[in-house]
Symmetry: C2
Subunit: 339 residues, 2 copies
């Protein structure tokens, strides 16, 4: 009897925010692994904002998904069968199987996870791509110094929560921005941020100004939109703005109405000697070891905390992903595909 | 008989482009230098685009001029009388006397120029603030590598001409942008740029695309506006954009009409991992010696060429400055105030 594989493909390109009919759940069969191959069973699937970019055909840093392609995504999987000398049945690996239950792999791009890791899904979050994104952008481009003020939005998310906590470890004043009182309470009480503001407040700009009496030295950009608008006038001389994402823009179908503030931004960068720089974590993967060597001890010592938002069932991935883009998750969003 | 000093003050703040009635020529008397002071006679006055910023009261990196203040500016002066132990009559100094014939100074901020310097006005241009601005922004932020493509506008100006020539020394392909065929011919034939485009052309964007078959790796921003618009879509992954000025914006009274391209720029910086960074050369003055040590030999060997646009007479400074903002100068604009 052949093995059934449930998978979710892109049925149509979203216009604006994705809707359930942009996705299709289908069932295929999986062949037995050939020589040099392994059969992977997906345990956990990471859902991340960048996936929205892959669903568009606008030019970007990675080629777009084509219609009927399996949705991409980082996964933690268990080896179910192996004809590959490097893997044994029962090994747990970090890979990129995407939104499906099984994958045949030749081992390329797989990382074997330590069997001592009690919670392998962390390799998709605080110990994985989002945590590494937070670490590298904040430290390499943001270069936070003790006593400086660091602002990060999506403050309880997979990236923002790590940005803020590393900035606290570096001695900074940290102001988070998040959606709703519960997330803000968590950022301050659990994660140790100095303040956290609700981005839904009418007077966000005024609140941010009040919370930043010494201005803003580092703004870790992961949302764009009205948060950046509130940050802009508060940026100090020599501020740094690493850009890891602009989630507020991903569903935008057109540019906002004018005036055109592009020249305003350029003038601001000049007058205040600001450095603004985008980065894509895949370019820096050779430094993952450095990150893991720093993050491991922080986690063990409880200096970096994390929260997972786990949704059970591959079939619920589309709805969870739509919610992610609306900020409905609370912590790193992970789909539990199998146990 | 007391010494008469002609000087030019800001009579009113410009609205948009400065006009002659924003300036007033007046005559005052100069006292004899007290103990510890010198009397400076201005020989050459530098006119530079940044002065337009000082005439506005919008917040910037330097406090604005007040009404009736003497216009600021770098100067080469001769010591006419000295009660300062460090200076002798006949010394030639680089200072910041502004738009006037005489100044009493306590020596602060003065740099004695080597008497072997046959053309002291170079200390206002290729060997001075503009040359240093070109050097530091290009090398520190632009970080040009052999074989990369570098684009600079105002290509025959005090900064742009040095940017392009240093980039050529580093083995780059250099594309200048300038106003008119004569300047473009000079940039290619005299300065050695690979190409130079007339920014007045209707199809600047298409010409720039054709001249940059491998895209643009470094755009040295000194003008903004439609030149940046043409550059933006051609920027390569990991491009660098040092910002030293935005001369096209200095006279703007309002932002351009929409759509608002600020989010577009942020997304572009992310997707292409671009670094965009403003700088103000005064922040880096402690590194002037490093610059002078590099530029001196380049000048002596004829590897860096320069051109001065000299206007005689302090009274002509306002008209020359108005022309500078319109690109009417050809080379470093200097007012010869006295011989």
């Amino acid at each position: 009897m052949s093995l059934q594989n449930r998978r979710i493909v892109m049925a149509s390109r979203p216009k604006g925010a994705p809707t359930p009919d942009n996705f299709r759940l289908e069932t295929t069969t999986v062949p037995a692994p050939a020589a040099g191959e392994v059969l992977l069973k997906t345990l956990s699937l990471s859902l991340d904002p960048y996936m929205r970019g892959r669903m568009s055909d606008a030019p970007s840093y990675a080629p777009p998904l084509e219609l009927n392609d399996v949705m991409v995504g980082g996964t933690v999987s268990r080896v179910e069968a192996s004809n590959h000398p490097g893997y044994q049945v029962g090994d747990v690996v970090l890979g990129f199987s995407g939104w499906q239950e099984y994958e045949i792999s030749n081992g390329e791009g797989l990382t074997k996870l330590d069997r001592s890791l009690t919670q392998p899904s962390l390799a998709l979050g605080v110990l994985g791509m989002p945590g590494f994104t937070a670490y590298l952008g904040l430290l390499d481009i943001g270069n936070p110094q003790a006593g400086e003020t660091v602002v990060v939005a999506a403050a309880t998310g997979a990236v923002g929560s790590v940005v803020g906590q590393i900035a606290k470890l570096k001695g900074c004043r940290v102001i988070g921005i998040a959606g709703g009182a519960e997330k803000c309470r968590y950022a301050v009480e659990e994660l140790g941020f100095d303040a956290c503001l609700d981005h839904r407040a009418d007077n966000l700009a005024a609140q941010l100004a009040a919370a930043s009496p010494n201005g803003i030295d580092v703004y870790y950009e992961n949302v764009g939109g009205k948060v950046f608008d509130a940050v802009m006038p508060l940026l100090n001389d020599n501020a740094r703005v690493p850009i890891c994402g602009v989630i507020s823009q991903y569903n935008a179908e057109s540019l906002p109405a004018g005036p055109d503030r592009l020249p305003l931004l350029t003038s601001l960068l000049l007058k205040k000697r600001i450095r603004m720089q985008g980065f894509i974590i895949l370019d820096h993967w050779h430094r993952y070891g450095e990150f893991a060597a720093a993050m491991g001890p922080w986690l063990k010592a409880g200096q970096i905390k994390f929260r997972e938002d786990i949704v059970a069932g591959l079939e619920n991935a589309p709805q969870a992903f739509i919610g992610l883009l609306e900020g409905r998750n609370f912590g790193k969003l992970v789909i539990r595909v199998a146990d």
